[in-house]
């Protein structure tokens, strides 16, 4: 089977009610269509190895603020990979991604917290808490099945939006679980085999650079992103991915072929939300262990605007493309953090601007809003689609 799995119905086929069905999967541009085995595979492995070395050494050369930008982008990338599978592969519009982030974050806080200061905490080892938090989020996603199985398209999108409102309300009204909106609650970073990722006064040095919290989180987040990418790629290319695309392209035809539509939709939601759950835990770590519910339902870490931002990442990158999800996150999550660093040299400007200035957040919002419009009008495949066209043209010579 070739690397580019074709959807069941040809692309230019009957007017489909689904999202732009980008042919799958992405891989890294030029290498994606290379033949298996032989030199192509060797080159591909060499590139992956190079990427791994670069990611490992980055903390040594990059200053701390740039590392936090990178870790934030990786957080977004993990979440966006989950959403792009749901929207692009399984064809289900979801505006609930920020809700599943919240579920992941709260689960981790409750499972790993030590139960002091009036917060509920089970004081489990942090790694166990991480795994369970992801599992719980997957279950919550699967529990949405009665709704997701019955609805499709835009009705499902708006129905899932109600989860964000529900999560916002629950987080505010259960401060013993989620912390209060004013001070939140703190939980530990990951302890793994005696290695503490929240280390503030490090004794570990690599090439004379102290490996503190920023550096350690970079490694951790890069590893998690790589695992998430590998698992997602496996799912998309395998049996599950084929079933999802069958459901996406035509529910009735999928049923006829023996695919259980309701079950596949539930699985898609579960997989997608487990990614969001992992991203939610990463969000808590990124904020130095702080979990804090939002003040308002339309702005904040778990708000409707974040749900929309995730959708923007997916669309900008190319709906259904995993590589595109990472690129989308770099634009939507990376830009507001990197702009002030590049222009002023420190991160203090992020929230310092007020009033009617063109702050980095304003600029980013304008850019990604415009990108969404331009992409849907001109290039429904997003950046992944552009990349595919470009490599195809280069190969033709």
């Amino acid at each position: 089977m070739s690397e580019t799995t074709t959807p069941l119905t040809p692309e230019a086929g009957a007017p489909s009610a689904e999202l732009p069905a980008a042919p799958q999967p992405p891989g890294s541009g030029a290498t994606a269509a290379a033949p298996r085995g032989g030199r192509g595979a060797l080159v591909r492995w060499a590139l992956w190895l190079l990427l791994a070395v670069v990611m490992f050494l980055a903390p040594v050369y990059l200053p701390g603020q740039y590392l936090t930008v990178g870790t934030w982008v990786m957080t977004g990338a993990v979440g966006a990979m989950g959403l792009t599978m749901l929207v692009g592969q399984a064809g289900q519009l979801s505006l609930a991604h920020s809700f599943f982030l919240l579920v992941g974050g709260v689960s981790y806080a409750v499972l790993s917290g030590d139960g002091s200061d009036g917060f509920i905490g089970l004081h489990l080892p942090t790694f166990v808490a991480l795994v369970l938090a992801v599992a719980i989020t997957a279950l919550v996603g699967a529990a949405f099945a009665p709704v997701s199985g019955r609805l499709s398209g835009i009705y499902l999108g708006v129905a899932s939006l109600s989860l964000v409102f529900l999560g916002w309300y629950l987080a505010r009204s259960l401060p013993s679980l989620a912390g209060t909106t004013s001070s939140g609650r703190y939980v530990e970073d990951l302890h793994l085999f005696g290695f503490y990722f929240g280390e503030k006064s490090p004794s570990l040095y690599v090439l004379d650079v102290p490996i503190g919290q920023n550096e350690r989180l970079w490694w951790l987040f890069a590893t998690l992103t790589a695992i998430a990418y590998a698992v997602a790629r496996g799912a998309v290319r395998g049996r599950i991915g084929r079933a999802w695309r069958a459901v996406r392209d035509n529910e009735a035809a999928a049923t006829v072929m023996g695919v259980s539509v309701v079950r596949q939709k539930a699985i898609a939601f579960a997989v997608s939300s487990s990614y969001a759950g992992l991203a939610g835990v990463m969000v808590v770590w990124w904020y130095d262990g702080l979990l804090k519910p939002d003040e308002a339902v339309d702005s904040g870490t778990y708000s409707t605007s974040v749900a929309i931002a995730y959708l923007a990442m997916v669309v900008i990158g190319g709906v259904g493309s995993l590589g595109g999800a990472i690129l989308g996150s770099a634009i939507v999550f990376g830009m507001p953090l990197i702009l002030p660093l590049l222009t002023q040299g420190d991160g203090s400007g992020i929230n310092a601007v007020s009033g009617t200035d063109f702050s980095p957040v304003v600029i980013t919002n304008l850019i990604y809003g415009a990108l969404i419009v331009l992409i849907i009008v001109f290039e429904p495949g997003g950046f992944a689609g552009l990349g595919r066209k470009l490599t195809a043209r280069l190969r033709r010579g």
Binding site: P15, S16, A17, E18, L19, P20, L93, P146, V147, R150, L151, G153, I154, Y155, G157, V158, A159, L161, S162, F165, L166, W168, Y169, R172, S173, N250, E251, A252, A253, V256, A296, V297, D298, T304, I308, L311, A312, V315, S354, G355, T356, D357, F358, S359, V362, N365, L366, Y368, G369, A370, L371, I372, V373, I376, V377, P380
Partner: protein, 293 residues
Amino acid sequence: MSILVQVLLNGTGRGAIYALLALGFVIIYKATEVVNFAHGSLALFGGYLTYALKSQVGWYLAALLGVLSAALLAFLLERLILSRAKLASQDSLAILTIGVDIIILTEISRRLGTEAAPFLGDPYQGIRLSILGATVEGPQIVALISAIVLIGAFFVVFRYSSWGLAMRAQSENKEAAALMGIRSSRVTSSAWAVGGALAGIAVLFIATLPIAGGAGLTAAHTIAFAAFPAAILGGLTSPGGAVVGGLTVGLVEAFSQQYINQDFAKVAVYLVMLIVLVARPSGLFGRVEQQRV
């Protein structure tokens, strides 16, 4: 007793505003099958223009210009952007409107800045009426009256004019309508303009003290979010459903605000929508989509 009357009146007043928004939503959906996520931004745009102009040309002319500008913006949106994305599916077009929404919302919030939130309902801000021991605030009375007049007018036009006939024909079957000589572009762009105008009218009542509280114009976009459940609950294809949905949302919100709490009111609206959708996936009065294999 007077509390109950008060809650009913508040709910109906707010419901009228939601009905205006939801009706605009449904008109746009019926004509183009696009769920317009930029509806809140259209309202915000009209409101901002009214606010910017009212000190120079007076409230009434400013309000008129605000409404017209919202209609014009919606019209241009359809003509310049949506009609060009011919290959995109319904869902993609909905996402496209999200992109438009982000741009307009970002720019207008930037212009409004962090200064005190502007209010719009100048002529009726101070009016109060007492009914059965309950007080109704001016904006709600005017909103209710305007909604009744406008929605009534819409139904008359929709039923008896050639525009309404063309609209109905097109939402029934686009190709057949085109074959019968209906100009699809004219119908769709006019539907967008009407939807935009309704949003521009609704904002005149939203950005008032009793509705937006301390948040003024900036609340318009948030409040317009409640038009989603209103439109979906009634069924995206049914103008009558939009009115029922709007009133339902208004009343659910008012009752849960009074008897549970402020936060829960925002969720309750969505929960009601969710329950309706599970029972009837196309809303209360929506047409059930049929699929041919």
